[in-house]
Assembly symmetry: D3
Homo-oligomer: 318 residues x 6
């Protein structure tokens, strides 16, 4: 079966793909006819497709986020590749294909990512900090297996959030070794908690965010975590005014660094300054790496990346 990223103009092909988007449109003719405006994808990339002459049955058969078997040809339309679909049918259990094989996902298995995060929690020495972190992670543990870290900005794929946390934990471990005045418990806790409410802030399926939740829009993931820490402290009978609870809330509330980036307070403890920079370094470098990975080798420039001052990245040949 041919991977999306390998298809070139005039290729005729047959294969299984994910119907990532599907819209029923009508031609301008009289009478207008229904056709499907489609986005097909697999883990290697995606391509727009047209299925002309959609029947009423087709309209009740095909929906976004379903797997299909497609026979078609690649054409060029407005200087871009586009599939013209000859035949299409839904994939069946007998086809032996799984949804998760057709989406982008973190390069480490979700179960392994969760395991690493749990090990990091386990290594937190202070009981109170460790317990609060566990409490918050437990709230989203199932979703942490597959949620992305953002809608489009960075780590926007299956298990992207867990992958972001794991990579930040690696940087955090290094920085704590390099600068022993930092408290590793706070660094670990800050990293694991900082975006932990994202699965409740966003509505996602297979690593693809379709919208934000009402709570996500009205409260935001930063304040949600702060509230969760309050909840954790009450449930575990910890003092809400204790320095540890305040420190954990401060780490989360300040991690976007500036008010205009969503943080109601600015970093005012050493570990909060570190957390912001660990987060920024991992997110920005992942944007770069993902952009280079998904840009054809032949292209010297990636598309513009909004999170990097809207600049494209140049691929030096060495």
């Amino acid at each position: 079966m041919t991977l999306m990223k390998q298809l070139t103009a005039n290729d005729e092909f047959t294969g299984y793909y994910l119907l990532k988007e599907l819209e029923v449109k009508q031609t301008n003719g009289t009478p207008p006819k229904d056709y499907f405006d489609i986005v097909l994808c697999d883990a290697s990339g995606q391509m727009p497709a047209k299925y002309w002459d959609a029947t009423p049955t087709d309209k009740e058969t095909f929906f976004p986020m379903g797997l299909v078997k497609v026979q078609g040809i690649v054409q060029t339309y407005r200087e871009k590749l586009q599939v013209k679909i000859y035949r299409i049918r839904k994939a069946t259990p007998e086809d032996g294909v799984a949804l998760t094989d057709f989406i982008r996902s973190a390069p480490i298995r979700p179960v392994d990512l969760i395991h690493m995060i749990k090990q990091a929690i386990h290594s937190i020495i202070d009981d109170e900090i460790r317990t609060v972190v566990s409490f918050c992670v437990a709230k989203v543990e199932e979703k942490l297996m597959h949620y992305p870290a953002a809608k489009t900005h960075h780590h926007a794929y299956y298990a992207g959030l867990a992958y972001h946390i794991v990579r930040m934990l690696e940087i955090g471990e290094f920085i704590c070794k390099q600068r022993p005045f930092l408290n590793p418990d706070y660094i670990k806790a800050g990293i694991i908690l900082h975006d932990i409410a994202k699965p409740e802030e966003m509505i996602a399926q297979l690593g693809i965010v379709s919208d934000y939740s009402v709570q996500g829009k009205l409260i935001g993931h930063i304040s949600m975590v702060s509230n969760w820490i309050t909840e954790a402290a009450i449930r575990c009978d910890y003092d809400l005014q204790s320095e540890k609870i305040i420190a954990l809330q401060h780490l989360v509330l300040s991690h976007h660094n500036l008010g205009e980036w969503g943080s109601p307070v600015q970093p005012q403890m050493a570990e909060a300054v570190a957390l912001h920079h660990i987060d920024a370094m991992d997110a920005k470098l992942q944007m770069v790496e993902d952009a280079l990975d998904t840009t054809p080798e032949s292209e010297p420039w990636t598309p513009m990346i909004r999170g990097l001052e809207n600049k494209a990245i140049y691929r030096f040949k060495e």
Copy 2:
């Protein structure tokens, strides 16, 4: 006894005043001598003062925020009035003067303000909203009797916070009548809760803020209230995901309107938009009123007001 704001150059006077600030300094002579650099105040205003030749006993007797009886003369120094103190002694119980008579305070008695706030709470129809508001107010009820609403910005005097809330409730009541699509319960709750954590954010005495608390700096009053609402919901066994809890948290979190003004989310419910504007209108107009009140009648311009784009206000003669 002469009021501060009535003293003019060359007046000799005797009276009771509050030692608002006191610093021990030394003259440049050889050997240097100790003197007191003082700010005297009463409810009508304040004036700098010098007490030359302070004795070691004096240094152990006089401290800021104490009442004193002073005999002195008003002189002009660098175009400003300044008191030269001849004699000074601490006020005694026999003098029959009370600290609270010497500070600026809201024009309505604290007990009456608290009563009005309680009536407003009582008038909230929805049980859940009313209970959460009561819970949060109870946390600071004692301090609400005397805390200012800010360090210097607005309502910076005894019971200023309660006064700010009461005046906003008046505006809120009017707006709800004018625009019936607004929910009065949310308007009242938003007004009472929006700054309710300020007494825990700031450290104040007699309406004068000396500093911010650790929690105030690291969490901020906006997020503190959000956490208190979470706590209230848990203590009262309300659903943390209910629209009412989310709405109350949203009202508080968004009331500064913009990220750069400290709000992690922007107003996204009708009452939140209203709350921001009720707050702004009351705070800004109070700044103007206070500036005009404390500027001598003879001055056409108030000092510059930081909260009003750093502009002075002109007093039109009508």
Copy 3:
């Protein structure tokens, strides 16, 4: 006759509507054929429509801002409702329909709004202030009967400007009662004058702004009012340097508060600070109310509102 906002997919209907927009387009076929790309509206809302096979006669018959009788069917196109027009003809006097029945307008009759504004002018005690206000209102009195307050921002409908003024007068009356140090004459004058040049700044028909006038672009409504006050003073033989004339000009010039919002000076008199906040409160809350009114009850979120930090408003149930 069915209201626009009540039409749903697959409804067949006949009724009178306003041809709000009409563009002649051509199909891509060979030879291309003319069709009409239309927006139909009534006072309840609007909907796009297509009229295929427009004849040369049709092209000379139908123009924007005319009333038509339409027979058609509602279809779904790109997830949005759209009318396919079967038959269309211009409304005739015999049909007994009036343009003003088909447009959005203020909830109070224009004559009543004008009456209220005149009463407010009448209640201004100071002769000079009252005369200047009357002079400026007289310049646009006829247009004040129907002009909107803005192109799209707020009160963008028939008699929206007069409605905005009347509602602000209500708030102004309340604030003057709450804060007696404010001069009601200046508050009333500022409210009535602040946007009074808008009918000369914008070109509107039936409450719909099509463009800005040359003077509107080159001078702007704020400076235009300032010039009108100068004119009023000269015509009435008032001293151009008097505090009253300066105060009135200052109220108008400063009411946008900041230079980047179009005010060449910032508020520096108490009533100017009040005016800005009365204006902001009324404009912002009206944006919210209008957005909720014109969003179908079934939708929890309004569209994004540019004047509210580009945020949508959530409709809480209860």
Copy 4:
């Protein structure tokens, strides 16, 4: 007599100077003694001075902005030169010195500057434009003989405003020749009118601005000129809606280019774009020239210049 800029450490000297600033201060001794904290200046520069042991008679004799004869010595205090005054007396008519000899002023005589401005007015071809310009200039003609163009920013000296206008007229003449599509009448009118209300916006004596007028603060010179143009048109019975009146008002209103720089509208006619750049070029280059002129030759860097992004200018040796 020695010029200020030529005095160096330890020089003993006698001469006439202007008492630019004078404050009575008191030493810290017991009892404190009065002394004068003074700024002496002449047209070449200025220097701080101290006059110890000021008598009560001295305090009633010496005031700012008076000419004095001084005998003193130059000392170094905190790495800066400072005069210690031995003897001081007021200048008398017999001394034959004139105030205007001791202040900075434009390098061209005021009468000549006014003459050049009048010639430029005279050369305006269009009657209506010429008449409006004459009307506005007539309002301040006497003050135009000596007013500065700004408080500190640029051309802050005797007849600085007239000099600024004359130099801009030179640039304007060149630009009109280089780019014939520009209308010289509008260029001349815009240059002469753009700051013509400054003498009413500021309160100045001998080219030194002490404050802004009430009208200056509340209306601002930009809107004041707009009002004057309205007045001129009415007095001369011109159509207030004519393109010429609108163009003149637009030129003035837009000449600061951006809202945050005080212009309520942005340049939207060719001559308005030109006017802004002619103004900027002349003001900025004059700041540079003045800073270099008043910085001792031995200093490679001028002080920081606020109007030039707060940068200092380096003096290259060529």
Copy 5:
């Protein structure tokens, strides 16, 4: 032959034009057919065009930036003029038409512009400055004959850069006469060098920029010139630390005035301040002149101009 700017609706015409843009598109029909979406231009303006029924041979015959002979008719599509092409063929040598006759270009011949620039270089008195300038100009001399000054902002046509330099030299000459404290050598050098690397920063053909070079994006023309000056100094064996080399680099590096406009340092020498304002004045006025030139006489407003705060320019009649 009819000029583009003279064509009006329903004109039938035959003539030579430049195929400025050409895209092969497909109709929505089944089966879809190829057609050309074209932009035709000559020196007077440009117009979109459609060529339906493009054959496979056509697709291999016509490419952008080629001259063609066209027979067609002008139609109105979406209120804009558009050509429907009946017949099209490539121009042949026998047709006697030249590419350069069909593009916009500076109003002075490139050879003359280069000559003027060389004269200016020749008139630089200082050997070192003159040599460095010559060295840098030599790097791009051939491209200077035809490169534009920018992609779209200003002087975006054939030889636009050389024209920009020549016009700035005229302003520079005037300013040096008006303000003799400016060093003409630095003014001339700064003007010639400030954008001299643009031909290496951008990729252009016939005065039309298609993209930026890799070096242009990664280094930028400002830093490129700085490097070239370093190179010039080394090649000519000048001291890299000399004031002249530093001054030349400073002139170039600071000419955008602010960091957010691309200058790593701000102007700190008199000539650098002058250079920025000479550049701004010429660029902005040229934007205005070009916009007025290319807007039909009947239109009172030009399109919005991004470099002028996105404002349109009004064409006053007289």
Copy 6:
């Protein structure tokens, strides 16, 4: 000998210290007397001091940046500690004290830092990159032994720049291991080169910056390095247009990330994005660490740190 940071009120002491600052001032008495206003320091901290009754000989004996032996007493002045000096003399060779023992410096010996940097250079695989880096380092090698990384912002002490580079190399090594798509040669080169011109941009002695050089102000360290790379390429006969030279210049030019932070271009290669974040992380965390180190243990808050949004850092007790 007592360390500065250990001195408390009323301590009498004798010891060697560095005269970091010395100003001769005069008392206000008649006649005024000379005294020294001094800052004493050692490696642990600093304290203001007064030496009353300075003789003419003293004024010719003592200068800033000299070592002295002091006998004195610690007093409290305006709530801060201050030394009153009884006796003072210059340190002599016999005293056996060295300047470098009395200043703050990096926690690793300069020779070791230089060694580490050289090892990093040595490990660069690509000859061209390694040679260019060596060339630039050679320009400042001697100064790299002791220069700070900034005037006050971060690493503002002896050998601070070398220490900053070494710590960044550690982070760089980690990141290259974590993200193998990064080119270690570019990461190392970017780290070593990014601030390598600072010793020529600033004028420093013993790690204390007194001013910026003329070249530093007019060119800035970022563009200076770019020029040095050009010079290196020419001297070594490398192609100035090669991707390697462009990449090295891009790394340096973009490392401040934004125009308003001084970078003329924004990061557009993966290693440039990484470099910016490595630099930010090291600089910000060092600011925190240094602030905590130099704040007495008893103080819960450090002073405000300008580079951290002007926030103070709280010291949590764990």
